[in-house]
Every structure is written in C-alpha cells, then in structure tokens.
Amino acid sequence: MLKTSLREAYAKALIELGEKDKDIVVLDADLSSSTQTAKFKARFPERFFNIGIAETTMVNVAAGLATTGKKPFVSTFAMFGTGRAWEALRQSVCYPNLPVKLVCTHGGITVGEDGATHQACEDLAITRALPNMTVIVPCDDIETEEVIKKIYKLKTPVYVRLTREKFPRVFGKDGLLKELFNIDYDYSFEIGKAYKLKEGKDINLITCGLTTSQALLAAKELEEEGISASVIHLPTIKPINKESLLKALDPSKIILTIEEHSIIGGLGDAVLHALSDQDFKIYKHGIKDEFTISGKAWELVKYFKLDKDGIKEKVKKILKK
C-alpha cells in the first residue's frame, strides 16, 4: 500500500499553475512549511504573501486580491482557515462570489497529537452552509493534483480539505484499486461527480478523503466474509451531482456514509439531503457529536472506528451479520 502526501501534491500543482499563470497568488498564515506553500514561495516569492498569524485578515486580503483580477490560493490549517476566518469567508468571499480558493491542510482527526483544538471536524459543515461555495475532499495525491488544476478555472469560491497524514493512494497503477481489486480505473476529476470504485450488492458505502481508502480495504475483507459492499467515492460534498450519484449507487437500498468529520453537516448530511426524495435507508458514520482527543493519527482513526475494522463492524451491525 503506497501512502502519499496530499500536501505535496497541492504544492506541485500550485507551482505548475504558477508557472503558466502570472495571476496566481498564494497566501499563508505562518504555516507555509506545514501547508507546503513555502515551495511556491521559493519559486515565486513576489506572488507569495505570508500574512502572519491572522487568518481572518488573510481571507479578506485574498478577497481584495481577487477583485483586482488575481487568482488567490489561501492556505492554513483547516481549523483556522474555515473556523477563525469563517465570517470573512462568508462576507468577503462567498457573498460577493469571488474566485478565492481556500485549500486547507490538517483537516480531521488525523492531525493527531495536537488534539481537539486543531482537529477540524466541522469544516465541511460550516463551508457547505455557505452559498456559492464548492466543497471538495480529495482521497489521495493523484486526485488532489487534479482537483487543484480543475478548481483553478472556476470563477467562484472553493474550499478543498487536505490532510497532515499521508493517505493510501487509491487511483493509478500503484493505487489500492489496482492492488486490491485489479481495477484499472480511468479517473479524471469532475466537480459533483460520484465515482463508483467497486460494485456490491448488499450495501453502498459512500466516502470521501481518508475513508475512501479505508472503505476499499473493508470492502475487500467483507467480500471474503460473504458481504458484498459497493464503494462510491464522493469527493465533492457540494454541489453533489444527484444523477451521477444515483447512477453510481448499486441496487441495494442501504447506504452507509463514512467520513472523517462530524456526523453533523458533512458528507452524510449532504448525501441525505441529495437523496431525501429517494427510497434509501441511509446510515451515517463519522465523529459523533463530541470533541475529539489527542493521539497518534492512525491510532485515532482506529479509536473513532474509521479504519477498515471499524467500518466492517459498522456494516455488519447494519446488515445484522
């Protein structure tokens, strides 16, 4: 299983974009080594702005830059970029509908040891609630790179959630799909699209980010235990292309959404909303309505039952097997 860094993929894509478009500007708030925007700074120092530890102002400055025709990418940890700066995001970016791309790293519990203060588990909920906002959660480095290059063309606000931890690669020749199921997946990112990665008869697992790889691992083992689960990767939390999602769903009328995020307001609720007029039984799995804790990233993934074993347990409980 190859683990790759979403942050590195982001930096790589940023530099490629910066190379061909002089209007790309990048802002950070004293975390450029962690978010990896420092690499962009090294290449294009005049188009990089470190605003210091002042996330609210950073987002407002990005909005101002956007009004002058610049194409700002704004980065910090997910907690501070979406949380601290939320109202700036609402008033200065989303309401005027400016093309600011907020790409935050360190989303979710895989932030690890820093603990609850730094583990953004509500970022999808609070960005999803904003009109004009697009919200995307890539699952590996290949997807991250594609996402960055696609959203760059959008003239509207976008939030992309990346992570501190390296995640198993899902797509590509050395990805999990190939390794586990010998599938050569022809992947290219489209906003809103649902990706059926694996077929299954008994239950539909809908995932994004971390949980896509974990669900694939779970589905593989469930298969061996006689449970057939489909895995549908839904990187765009908003807007969801409902037709594409309906097409991706397998005939079983049971859905389990799995996310590294609170069960309030994230992927699960987005799916519930999209399918509210449909005949599905939808279960949500994620962080319960509670604050999380310090610990090593992958120990926390296990603790909160978002690893393959936790997912298997959940599936069996739903199917009463």
Binding site: D30, I53, D114, A116, T117, I293
Partner: protein
Amino acid sequence: MKKDITYIDNVDLNLDIDFTKKRKLDNRTLENIAKEVRKIVLKATTRAKSGHPGGSLSATDLLTYLYFEFLKHNPQNPKWALRDRFVLSKGHAAPALYAILALCKYFPVTDLNTLRQIGSHLQGHPDMNKTPGIDMTTGSLGHGIGAGVGMALGLRLSYNVDAPKVVVLLGDGEAQEGSVWEAFNTAAHYNLSNFCVILDNNNLQIDGRVDEIMNIYPMMERLKTFGFNTIEIDGHNFDQVRYALSLFDMVSNFEKYSLEEQKRVLNILEKHNFKPYRPTFILAKTIKGKGVSFMENEVKYHGKPLTEEDLKRALGELK
C-alpha cells in the same frame, strides 16, 4: 511503560510551599525548578514524538516564577474560587505548564509520560476540563487573552477590590491576531488593574522571525497608547521578572492600601510611568529554546521534538 531515556521519573523538589500565601523563593531554587521543568519538557515531547519544545523553553522561566512565587493557587483545591488565574494564550507551550503543575503537585510528574496519547489527561493543548490546575482551554492562538479579560472582569464583579489577579502569557507571533488587539482594547477600556499580559518576546514564530513575517513592533509604544502600564524586562532574569510583577501587584492592590501606602506606592509606580486603574503589559525578552545551546534561537525546534540522541546531549547540558 517504556523506561528509556525519555522516561519521566517522579521528581520531588522537597519544597514545602504554601501556594495560597504570599511568598518569596531564592533565585537558586527557582533556577533549579526551571531546570527540572526543561528536562521534563524535552523528555515528554521526545517521548510523544510531537509537541512544541522551543516555545515551551522560552516560557519556562516565566511560568516557573509565576506558579512558584507569584500566583496564589492551591494544588489541593484547583478550583479554589479566590485563586489567581493564569491563561496560557500560547497554548502550544502546554508541556512547560504541565511540568510546572506536576511539580506543584496537581498530579503526578509521571503523568507527563502519557503526554499527547489517547486517554491521557494531558492533551496536546491545555484542556481545563481534563487537567487539574488549567484555568482556560487554549491552543488556537488569539483566544486566550480575551478569555483572560473576561476572568478579570468577572472576578472584579464578584470580589471588587479583593479580586484575584489574572495573568496571560501571550506569544509574539500570536500578537498578529486581530483578536489580541481587541482584547487589549477591552482590558484598557474597563480599567482592568487586576489584568496582566506577559509577552513571550522570542521574536520567532513558525515560518521565521516575527519582525520579518509580520511586524508587530514597537510593542511598548503600541501598548502604551492602548492604555496599558508597560515595562520591558529580560524574561529569563528572575529579579527582573519579580520586579515587573511586583509593580503589577501594586497596581492591582492599589485600592486596598491606606492613603499613606498609596502615596508610597505611587512614588514607585511613577518611576516607571505606571498608573493605578490600568492593566499591565510586561514585555519579556526571551530566547526560544532557552537553556539548551543548540536549540536557542533555532526556529526549527518550534514544533519538532529532539531526537533521542539530541535529547541525551540536551539533558547533559541541563545537569
């Protein structure tokens, strides 16, 4: 539990201190305590393979002085209503604060072995509901100072001239947050004489030097115009820390003095341009990584623990 070089054994300072009373320690004792704190910080972060040693060491002497000599508090009764309050607004220096609380006997020193692990009461950043002795939950920069203002206001409402004091430790990078300046404004607006901010002025943040990333200076002048009493000191010199805090003590106790005493105190305060009915700002010049030669002023140790090898070297220096 693994008992390697990172293992933190029980330390008994053999000090019999009543933390609820006014007290004075000699500087040698304070230095020894600070040395213990540094050792614990380094072991605990290396053991956890994460955490913030640099900013913990820069704050160690200030925290040692505050808890061992200045603040009135009670390890036997952490929620004592009349205790002075402390807010670690730069919450990432938690390891230093935990070490000090442990040495004050709020909990066993050996608890530091569990720092940042699942199930530990010692979270990556201070949690007032998990750790005895922590007055405010912090870690996201720019919030703690405002909460400190609220504490000072609340205590004044409850106890009037007898209100306990509130001390906030602020990072200099943290001072880039706009909310910090809103809190400064509020403290001055409400004439919070029982409120004191200490700036841990190591001039480093994560991406580099504070003056180069996003300048905050001149802090003394800025705070003066905000309406604070201001004094600049060496944050590693216990005499200077003691002196600065004694001025804050006089300001905060001012209304309790007799007229005669007030006159005497005013004379001292005037020398430093201090006035009663004002919050206090102490600019403490510090060195990030202080106490370990190869860590001092090195930005890379902000959020990176020592390797076991470097830990050995560091502990050698702290003998």
